[in-house]
């Protein structure tokens, strides 16, 4: 039986609530770039976006027990991030507030995230990546765009492209790997 993203998140959240830091790190790996990108789109400052993203996940960790699963996990994380970003914009006391919660207190590892995100998430790099996606072989690009941009399930993509689900999974993976290589080679090394 297959598990959808919501089921997988629920399983990770359950483990994280039981004190499994690894499960929480997986959730953070999955959502950190999107949180960072969201905050960066409002704040337009790498340093402050990093700080706010860290604050977001510290709060998420601290308040995880209060997450009841009424909404999707990312929706909940997103709300925390947006609230922090809004407070940052409207409150001059934010800098002081930051000092009160240190990363060390949380036993979660955020430090390894910022280097890649801050290198990649600005308009120029994102457009370069988009440009590269357009050059992918048609079969990979179609599967990738249907998934990432259109939000289709593997089953739907298999119907559209008239290919087995296993092939869809493989094509999406190969597209991602190709893009990862491009990011490592053309974007991160040029920073």
């Amino acid at each position: 039986m297959k598990k959808n993203s919501h089921d997988i998140d629920s399983e990770l959240i359950k483990k994280a609530k039981q004190g499994n830091h690894g499960a929480f790190n997986i959730l953070m790996s999955k959502y950190y770039p999107r949180v960072y990108a969201t905050i960066f789109s409002f704040i337009k400052s790498k340093e402050d976006s990093e700080d706010l993203s860290q604050q977001t996940f510290i709060k998420v960790w601290q308040q995880l027990d209060s997450f009841r699963g009424d909404s999707a996990f990312f929706t909940w994380v997103y709300r925390i991030a947006i609230n922090l970003a809004k407070n940052f914009v409207t409150s001059s006391g934010f800098k002081k507030q930051k000092i009160n919660t240190s990363i060390e207190d949380t036993e979660i590892d955020i430090s390894s995230f910022n280097d890649i995100e801050s290198a990649v998430i600005h308009n120029e790099s994102l457009e370069e990546i988009n440009g590269y996606i357009d050059t992918l072989p048609e079969s990979l690009k179609t599967a990738f765009v249907l998934r990432e941009v259109e939000g289709k399930s593997y089953e739907d993509i298999a119907k559209i492209t008239q290919t087995p689900i296993g092939t869809v999974r493989s094509r999406i993976f190969r597209a991602r790997e190709s893009i990862v290589e491009f990011i490592k080679k053309e974007i991160i090394t040029n920073e």
Partner: protein
């Protein structure tokens, strides 16, 4: 290693088999490089959805969407985002009667909303919509796009003062076009302060966002005009 990375890719998409998940969590727990891989996939998602209308559209989406959504009725009621958009006032389903949308029966709506397929599609779509609506509300530059559409046939002119909003009498709004449909079949709308946000799916698989002081009847007129 490649096999594990493929599983991470499938996990990111929520397409992993139950039998594979526990093993993968163990691997990810122990291997920071693999966690980074997951993070990179997420980063790619950000890139792919950054000005996603710049990516070439998929030609047969529209036909497929008609098939897959033929039995699913989307409405303002189908919304987990209600839990998120706390500053927004959601308008009741009953208001949809003003849209003259195709509502067969309350039961059909109820069945559609509660069906597993609808819930799965909604979960996938909600995050995209949430992202989008939050940007509309919070990022002043988000709606200032280069999309210029001639709406004079429905009485709206480009505002000469700012060059990007449209005006007709007291109505004034901004417009943005996405090259994806967010899983929407019908118009979806929210009230935010004294402004409205409309997401209007078009026949060509795109979605138009209208944001400002604009009535629902005007939004429908614009949608009709864009579909011509």
């Amino acid at each position: 290693m490649s096999n594990i990375k493929e599983k991470i890719s499938a996990m990111y998409d929520g397409e992993l088999k139950s039998s594979e998940i526990d093993e993968l969590i163990e691997i990810l727990n122990k291997n920071k490089d693999m966690q980074k891989q997951l993070s990179l996939y997420s980063l790619i998602n950000v890139a792919a959805n950054h000005h996603s209308n710049e990516l070439s559209p998929i030609a047969n989406i529209k036909k497929f969407s008609k098939e897959i959504f033929s039995n699913i009725w989307f409405s303002n009621g189908l919304t987990a985002a209600a839990t998120l958009l706390i500053t927004l006032t959601f308008i009741n389903n009953s208001d949809l009667s003003r849209l003259n949308e195709n509502i067969d029966s309350t039961n059909q709506i109820s069945d559609a909303i509660n069906s597993k397929e609808a819930q799965l599609i909604a979960q996938r779509s909600e995050e995209y919509i949430t992202d989008h609506v939050m940007k509309v509300l919070n990022d002043p530059s988000y709606m200032n796009t280069s999309n210029r559409i001639d709406l004079r046939n429905v009485g709206f002119n480009v505002n000469s003062k700012d060059g990007y909003s449209y005006i007709k009498g007291k109505e004034k709004f901004q417009l943005r076009i996405e090259n994806k449909n967010f899983g929407l079949k019908n118009i979806r709308y929210w009230k935010h302060g004294n402004k409205m946000i409309y997401l209007v799916p078009l026949d060509n698989g795109k979605v138009v966002t209208l944001y400002g002081n604009i009535s629902i009847s005007s939004a429908r007129e614009i949608a009709k005009s864009l579909n011509k």
